[in-house]
């Protein structure tokens, strides 16, 4: 599940493209930071193995501060869910469903989301296992097609590091880390539901490493096929790359097909956020996740996905300039680290409290 989540929107939008031909180094380094961040989450989880994030926020920081921040987290999850929904709707509209209105696409996706939340996290986790296999298979076949068709030009990667480390650094922080890996904060909400609790750390770390590797390989291949300038100019580099494939004039035009598979990634991501919001709300307000709840939150996500940005450009702008600094940094990195420190200090002072 984590794996697909990490792959999520990064696969499609290809973060780090401003670093031109060194863009593949960004995910490589980000993996390392991601692991560090994940360790922070795991240590928090180990202290409170049965409570989600909102739970131990209240425990560590007291009822009012913790409660307020938990509430912010819930709103944050809903917001990000609607952002990702908007992302995928835009993707579908700008590439193949140009006549259908965005509302229809959104409604359909929202229904499936509501159904999946309704059935609970276990059913959802099983479906993601299947999706995992499918996505891996698809990526593998795609890459094989690229190689077989001779679209890979290794010289597109050269010269390496011509523009220096500055660009890479700019891409890495904050976007490179937070977008795929910082969003693992959602898993702090889900981890309490794991059956085999001891394996949380190892599974998570291996998922991060594998995910990072796949992202890196993907980045490399995209650069090789398209060339750095095209990657920079494209809204959806992965889609453009797929449209080049034309083998034996039969295997051609796979873009829509790939796009549909990408929707799986989006679906997984949004569902996880949705779940966190529902679990958080249930935990904070002491409610059981009832059907009305789910429909309400689903509706909110859908409508806000329509309203958060008037156009695709504004949406991307928001995502690249405002959101990382304002939202991602504090929620993903700052607050968990502070939490950990506070918990540690508290433990030193009153060992019996925990």
């Amino acid at each position: 599940m984590m794996f697909i989540f990490i792959l999520g929107s990064t696969l499609l939008l290809d973060i780090g493209k401003a670093a031109r031909q060194d863009a593949w180094i960004v995910p490589l380094l980000a993996t390392f930071f991601g692991c560090v961040l994940y360790l922070v989450y795991i240590s928090l989880y180990k202290r409170y193995p049965n409570m989600p994030l909102t739970g131990y926020l209240i425990k560590i920081w007291g009822k009012y501060v913790g409660g307020a921040i938990s509430f912010c987290y819930i709103i944050y999850f809903v917001y990000i869910a609607s952002r990702v929904l908007r992302d995928f709707e835009e993707l579908l509209i700008s590439s193949s469903y140009y006549v259908t209105s965005i509302i229809t696409l959104g409604i359909c996706m929202t229904f499936v989301l509501i159904y999946s939340i309704h059935l609970g996290i276990e059913a959802f986790a099983r479906v993601t296992c299947l999706c995992f296999v499918i996505i891996l298979l698809t990526l593998f076949i795609l890459n094989v097609l690229y190689v077989v068709g001779g679209y890979i030009k290794v010289e597109n990667l050269q010269p390496v590091l011509a523009n220096g480390w500055g660009n890479i650094g700019k891409e890495l922080v904050p976007l490179g880390i937070t977008v795929p890996f910082g969003e693992l904060i959602t898993f702090t909400m889900i981890l309490p539901y794991l059956n085999k609790k001891s394996q949380a750390a190892t599974m998570g770390l291996s998922a991060i490493i594998i995910g990072g590797m796949v992202l890196t390989i993907n980045s490399i291949i995209l650069l090789c096929v398209l060339g750095p300038e095209t990657v920079l100019r494209s809204s959806f580099p992965a889609l453009t790359a797929v449209s080049y494939i034309n083998i034996a004039s039969f295997i051609q035009r796979l873009d829509t097909f790939i796009l549909i598979l990408m929707v799986i990634l989006g679906f997984v991501k949004i569902t996880i956020y949705f779940f966190c919001a529902v679990i958080g709300a249930a935990d904070l307000f002491r409610m059981k996740p009832s059907v009305t709840n789910i429909y309400l939150i689903g509706g909110v996500i859908f409508f806000s996905s329509l309203m958060i940005a008037p156009s695709y450009q504004a949406h991307i702008n928001e995502g690249l300039k405002i959101v990382p600094y304002l939202l991602h940094l504090p929620f993903h990195i700052a607050i968990p680290i502070l939490l950990l420190i506070t918990a540690y200090i508290k433990q030193k002072i009153k060992p019996t409290l925990l």
Partner: protein, 500 residues
């Protein structure tokens, strides 16, 4: 369903009648009462025998014509009884007779009962009841014999190599077929009767030690809770005891083949045999089981693996072929390769209907043909099949009603339906096919994908007696993969059983 509502009113009257009322001492009165209750049915036959020496020594032998085995009655009941009556020239009391009767009658099972309810059910199930004048005990001799089919080849799940016997409608025959294959003392058979009017015999077989005790208990609990008038087929049982009442996916496997049942029993599952149908239920059942045919184990494992993958592929194909075709030609024309595009356009030029209408009409026509094929008398079978093929295929295309491509796609999805060994899962595919066609006409591939996710979510949330339905795939159990998509060689599959 209608029968239930009809009988419900009459049910109430009956319960007050059939109680543990005692029998009369007088034979004639008992017989009179029996005939009254059975409404003077013409198949109740009885014979009164008397001792020539003692006038009060009378016995009546009562059985239902057709259900009771005449031979056994003649040889093992009537002959010794009359013989004894001839020879007993001493005066004996009723009590002495009651003690002697078990030694006189030479049937293999003889029970002595006292209440009316037992009397009725004994007569109705085909046993012979011997009434003594002056005694309130009845002697029930086991003379059941049902007219039943001989053991023949299975009609629905045939194989090329492998045993060719199948279950019949008789419970005892079925259990004997299983017993003949598992000659182990751990094989258990529990019985119960379900259905207040039909009193159908149900047998639950499992291997003690292999099967999970909790599931056995659970099944028995659920069976006991069934309150219904009649059980005609194992599907009645299936719909009552399965976990999720509303899903289209089968949660219990049903099979006609004894070797399949035995294989499942060895793996720790439980078989439910119902009197009156050759289809035996197997619980619990998971998704991948419906793609296994016993023939997989009787052939080389390479071929078996290939065929299994083919079955999964054809399940997928039978659900998606029409929907994907429709999505491609209506929403995503860009996905069709150039050369194919040209030929498809040429075909669709002359067809007046929209693609979705064409597709739905063809699918419905094929379903109708299929239903007709099942119910058709043998004599006109070939004629109708020729007519069907010609009309649907050739003439429709030539007249310009449908395009040739649609006929091909519908034929492919229908044929791939038939490769699956279990009809219950095939029905699920058929059901979803129509939904997918409609959705693909509305929003193309996106809709198909979302519907697929919904279907997966639904399957993943199903449980068959507590075991996740999608088991070997998710949660992913690596060891179990040896027998799902591909089949590894038998020595490596069966090793663990030998260790027990």
């Amino acid at each position: 369903m209608r029968q239930r509502y009809l009988l419900k009113s009459s049910n109430k009257e009956k319960t007050t009648d059939c109680s543990a009322a005692p029998l009369y001492n007088d034979v004639n009165k008992n017989i009179e009462r029996l005939l009254n209750e059975l409404g003077n049915s013409s198949d109740v036959s009885f014979r009164m025998v008397e001792s020539p020496y003692q006038k009060t020594l009378k016995a009546a032998v009562i059985h239902l014509d057709g259900l009771a085995d005449e031979n056994i009655i003649n040889e093992n009941i009537m002959t010794p009884l009359i013989q004894w009556l001839k020879e007993s020239n001493q005066v004996v009391t009723v009590k002495e007779i009651e003690e002697q009767i078990p030694q006189i009658l030479t049937v293999s099972q003889l029970t002595i009962k006292k209440n009316w309810h037992e009397f009725m059910s004994a007569v109705l199930t085909g046993d012979t009841v011997i009434l003594l004048n002056g005694s309130s005990k009845i002697f029930i001799g086991n003379t059941k014999k049902l007219q039943s089919r001989a053991v023949t080849e299975p009609t629905s799940q045939t194989v090329v190599r492998g045993p060719k016997d199948s279950f019949t409608e008789n419970l005892r025959t079925n259990t004997s077929l299983i017993r003949a294959r598992i000659q182990d003392s751990n094989l258990r058979l529990d019985s119960m009767k379900i259905g207040s009017v039909t009193q159908t015999d149900i047998g639950i077989m499992y291997i003690q030690g292999n099967a999970d005790e909790r599931i056995v208990e659970e099944i028995k609990e659920r069976l006991k809770e069934i309150k219904v008038d009649g059980v005609l087929e194992s599907n009645y049982i299936e719909e009552f005891i399965r976990d999720d009442r509303t899903t289209i996916f089968p949660l219990l496997l049903n099979t006609e083949r004894p070797d399949a049942v035995v294989g499942n029993l060895l793996e720790g599952r439980i078989a439910i045999i119902v009197q009156g149908t050759p289809f035996v239920l197997i619980a619990p059942a998971i998704f991948s089981q419906f793609f296994q045919s016993p023939e997989d184990y009787y052939q080389n494992y390479y071929i078996a693996s290939f065929l299994r993958i083919l079955r999964f592929g054809s399940f997928f194909l039978s659900m998606y072929a029409s929907a994907i075709y429709l999505a491609l030609i209506t929403h995503h024309q860009g996905l069709i390769p150039n050369t194919l595009m040209v030929s498809l356009m040429a075909q669709r030029e002359r067809v007046p209907f929209p693609a979705i209408v064409e597709m739905v009409v063809m699918e419905l026509a094929f379903e109708m043909l299929r239903e007709a094929g099942i119910r058709m008398p043998r004599a006109i079978g070939p004629a109708v099949s020729i007519v069907g093929a010609l009309i649907l295929g050739q003439a429709a295309v030539e007249a310009g009603f449908v395009s040739a491509a649609v006929v091909i796609i519908v034929a492919i999805s229908a044929i791939s339906n038939f490769t699956l060994p279990s009809t219950s899962i095939v029905n699920a595919a058929r059901g979803f096919r129509f939904i997918l066609i409609l959705i693909s006409a509305f929003i193309g591939l996106y809709g198909i994908l979302l519907m697929t996710l919904c279907i997966w979510l639904h399957i993943s949330s199903l449980r068959s007696f507590g075991i996740p339905y999608f088991s070997p795939f998710a949660p992913f159990d690596f060891k179990e993969q040896k027998d799902t998509l591909v089949r590894f060689s038998l020595p490596s599959l069966l090793k663990k059983h030998q260790n027990k």
